[in-house]
Symmetry: C2
Subunit: 522 residues, 2 copies
Amino acid sequence: MPLTGQLFIGRERVATSQTFRAANPTTASLIDPPFSSAGAAEVERACQLASEAFDQYRALDNETRAKFLETIGDRIMALGDELLERANAESGLPLARLTGERGRTVGQLRLFADELRKGGWQGVRIDPAMPDRKPLPRADLRQRKVPLGPVVVFGASNFPLAFSVAGGDTASALAAGCPVIVKGHSAHPGTSELVAQAISEAVAQCGLHPGVFSLLNGDKRDLGAGLVADPRIKAVGFTGSRGGGVALMKIAAARKEPIPVYAEMSSVNPVLLLPGALAARAEALGKEFVGSLTMGSGQFCTNPGLVFALEGPHVDTFIQSAAAALGGAAPQVMLTAGIYDAFQKGVDRLATNKSVKTIARGADTQGANCGRGALFSVPAGALTHEIAEEVFGASSVIVRCANEAELVDALEKLEGQLTATLHVTEQDYPIAQKLLPTLERKVGRILANGWPTGVEVSHAMVHGGPYPATSDSRTTSVGTLAIERFLRPVCYQDLPDALLPPALKRDAQSATPHRFDGVYRS
Amino acid sequence: MPLTGQLFIGRERVATSQTFRAANPTTASLIDPPFSSAGAAEVERACQLASEAFDQYRALDNETRAKFLETIGDRIMALGDELLERANAESGLPLARLTGERGRTVGQLRLFADELRKGGWQGVRIDPAMPDRKPLPRADLRQRKVPLGPVVVFGASNFPLAFSVAGGDTASALAAGCPVIVKGHSAHPGTSELVAQAISEAVAQCGLHPGVFSLLNGDKRDLGAGLVADPRIKAVGFTGSRGGGVALMKIAAARKEPIPVYAEMSSVNPVLLLPGALAARAEALGKEFVGSLTMGSGQFCTNPGLVFALEGPHVDTFIQSAAAALGGAAPQVMLTAGIYDAFQKGVDRLATNKSVKTIARGADTQGANCGRGALFSVPAGALTHEIAEEVFGASSVIVRCANEAELVDALEKLEGQLTATLHVTEQDYPIAQKLLPTLERKVGRILANGWPTGVEVSHAMVHGGPYPATSDSRTTSVGTLAIERFLRPVCYQDLPDALLPPALKRDAQSATPHRFDGVYRS
């Protein structure tokens, strides 16, 4: 089926007079077709439809909503190679990577379907009536969680499938019972259209209200701003730059009714090399590090952009190993010309900083938009916020710490991060114990002897962290806990069974994990 | 022990040159002693101490923190009648009410102690490693919740014990592992000092870091603003006016690192009288309604300020019954002269509104600051936001709805509320079913055949709701769910047992309710 370039407003396909085209970063050329940009009228209609769909959609039973998520996954798989090829053309990401990302995308839809069936997401709590309690009787109190309302999801550039139209934010919001309006990323509108087609078919196949899903494209900032400001929108999911995320936070906070914004924004993901680990495997660590750094041209939120090494005889071995590995790493095309330019500027900023030493660059290449890896070092005492700032792409700074005190001091000065990684052997445990409280205050995920890239989609994952890693540290954008972002509790006091929602009726309480008078029952 | 008027900064007692005194609303006179106002230097020291205490305090085991909460409760009880008498002098609230409120305050400290011992608050999730999984192995992933950091709690005027120095926000923040700085309410500084003394003794008795608790008083806005703006503060709990709450939200959102504000602000708590209920017991409903309306001079967040009645032969019976009951209700002294003035202005605004009819006023009285109850009615078609706005005190508006459509329309136009109450008999269930989706979108607690005043402190309670009832609908300020306001998740990937926190160690997983590979285990 050829791409149309049209918007999806519920079941309608809409063309507008303003259009834009995608660029192929590998060939540095624009590709067809032109895509319609949504204006205020399209925002109005999509928000109105989502609002109209809300009460029906949220009232669906767990099984129906689970089947809907699975159907989206099935329809995405049914798109076949056309999806992967278009995503490759629009993002420059290799087909093998996109195949894996598609698997993750469909996998997370299925995981949320499973989460719905387990039922615990409803947060059922029952405090039975105590009519004879003195001095006052206790009413019958039943709590469950309900969805917030229509959600706007911003597609991310670096995961055209897993963090875009049917990505993690969409899956968790739809699972929670919230209609979704996706603001498509302007770098991959064709990929977005294909996935939107899959969701649209799933909506029809499951007989749902068409307002459950819309896709609005556009390459101007007004579109996202207009969506976030609309009073019918009740929450926002975003993955992207700090500037973009902060702008949305400000719009949301300035609304007549402020709403939550879940923005995943930036992180340098500190890696800590402790002496025992360096003594045991400095050379291997250097190679593994560069593998993590250059994967996907370094375009991951969890890219290791800052490496802290405690001074000792093996630090130079690590650096030499990393430098050699980076020198042999073939540059890969970056997602967009804009991202490539920002990477170049970030690398230049570091290279020209007097405190910073350039250790190695990736091999040079003639290809368009190819990001050459970059590795720098700086003494801990010279580390500034500017040096510690994220350079999106395969750029990293090794911070040489003369002693433990310098390391702790440097860590305390870091802003909030998604992850921190400890490389340790048993002899390092005492130092690690001292560092852990600081790391827990700074990050959402702590790893030992691994690398932060590669985020598992599961129950215990946290892909989040203190500001500015995200706008809201109380949650995650990957894994089943993400459903809680779009829920709020409601208590029902003394309602007759006939008026209670299904999960709270007096004969239903054992069907789902819940708390009964505070006691956990599963 | 005589009151000193000093601030509590950790274990230090501090006097400043700026002072203010409390007023006795019943006698309309100032009472001794003068209380020190905190300035920027005191804010700085309290925040620094709280920040220093955080890592130690949050690392305490559940049992130690539980005992600390219970010790606070014990020390409050040990204050004896002196506490009740001072609270009575500063608030005008009767001793019987304050005795009950003390019981609730101590009860909620004990409830949170019990919640800590149950352990589920830690949100443990374990996804075991799958080393043989294809195409990629899965790491060992373990999640728990950690506290956000030091919290500022604003004492509320209308619950000088249960929502003040050792009230619900303090109890839930301390339970979560967050040091607390209370900004005492300027209306009851003596009550605050006594309770702060109890907490301070408990901190010493339990051998905790003194920075776990501070109390700063002041009667100027700068103090609260300075505390919320301090970078060491990581969350805010507030119960009070909409203006006050919104001001704190703006300060928190404008910080370099924005932080969550949990502000419980205003609500008119709609009560819906459906035809069956009116036919069965219009007269009794009128009396009960006035009982709820005038309790505590109407100074409850859950006061029934808006009553929707579906037109029919029994509406007038309800109104006459309510009018008679209100006419016989003796006015009670209000909390402060300022609250009394605002009540008078609010009642005058309604009384002079051309669409609004005055139905009854409470008996007149010569006492200072005595709020005369006020009952109004308005046809649904004439209901405006101004008429629906909260008048803090015993004032309520009956909205006469000609038909179901008018009722639905009026409800849809309401802002977010803490509660909604349905008065129904079986014949009303079909109408109630149609109204419930709207009510679920608008409120945090739905009651049947009761009255919204009187909030149970338990597991299933929700004292919260969509903006502007609160600043954050995703939570509650009463009940055990409130602990989640001050927590965020952290994931530990492949950490050796030696480095894992106690609740996540590999031999500890069965000691606490948790999810194992997604399965709920209790």
